[in-house]
Symmetry: C2
Amino acid sequence: MPPTRAARRPAATELPAEPTQARRFGKARTAQSTALLEDYAELIADLLASGGEARPTDIARRLGVSHATAIKTIARLKREGLATARPYRGVFLTEAGEALAARVKSRHRLVVDLLRAVGVPSEAAEQDAEGIEHHVSDTTLLAFGRFLKAHG
Amino acid sequence: MPPTRAARRPAATELPAEPTQARRFGKARTAQSTALLEDYAELIADLLASGGEARPTDIARRLGVSHATAIKTIARLKREGLATARPYRGVFLTEAGEALAARVKSRHRLVVDLLRAVGVPSEAAEQDAEGIEHHVSDTTLLAFGRFLKAHG
DNA sequence: AACTAAATGTAGCCTAGGCTACACTTTGGC
DNA sequence: GCCAAAGTGTAGCCTAGGCTACATTTAGTT
């Protein structure tokens, strides 16, 4: 067998390949990729519930993006089986989409409530929850619920 | 003046343009764009402190990406004035980069500590903090600090 | 019924952040 | 002092998610 030749610099601290950190970052990355879909699903559910219609322009306005961007993302929602839409006829959620929206909505509430419970002002709590919620695991969510039940 | 002609459908609930929600989403989006730079800065600071050298391959391994991806992001760090690097000679942080790394590190600790304080298991706290930390505003951070001081 | 504003859809461009494949430097071991 | 392995860099591709500009459809007013 060819003997392992060069090993280069002493590798400083000689960490054990550190797969833990890599795994964590990887998870955070994937969470980020589903975040937008979650926001869309939640918003569409909201619009359908309150106004009866979810139109691309409304969605775009609420999210602060151009209508073209909204339409592109709606196309992705369709590809992922979360929504249905026919040209010029508004957007609707599939069962999977509804389920996602419901999960996201309750998670959002829980995150906002927890932030406020630890003393974060309402305005900041709402703002930060928008970004935070997508990175909260089920385990953490459960802990939040318990905490709120105890100190409510 | 040309009288406003068509108004289309009744606009359902007639919300007041809702700029608040759009602003929130926009902020969450921008936070996301700086998240990666923050992670790199923190990791580079760590490597420099513990091993004396921050090399692209080490960074890539720790983050779980290919070395090519790491190098591309390092180029972006340089463009943004957060790091310096000469070919085959490792990566270093500018003053701005060091400052960012320090902020990120302390914020990370605070987030993990808060999660654990409300009952999140350590492993989940570390995992979720990786994603959450980038979306925590100064206001919220302050509240976290106060909470921890009170319930320590 | 026609006209026109608004909404919708399409095309094409950009950046960030992934990847693989290939080329070039460095450096430790012999 | 060679030389190959490991590290580094480059090129080119992909997707997501932004954008603007332009084309098409819908529907309210007259």
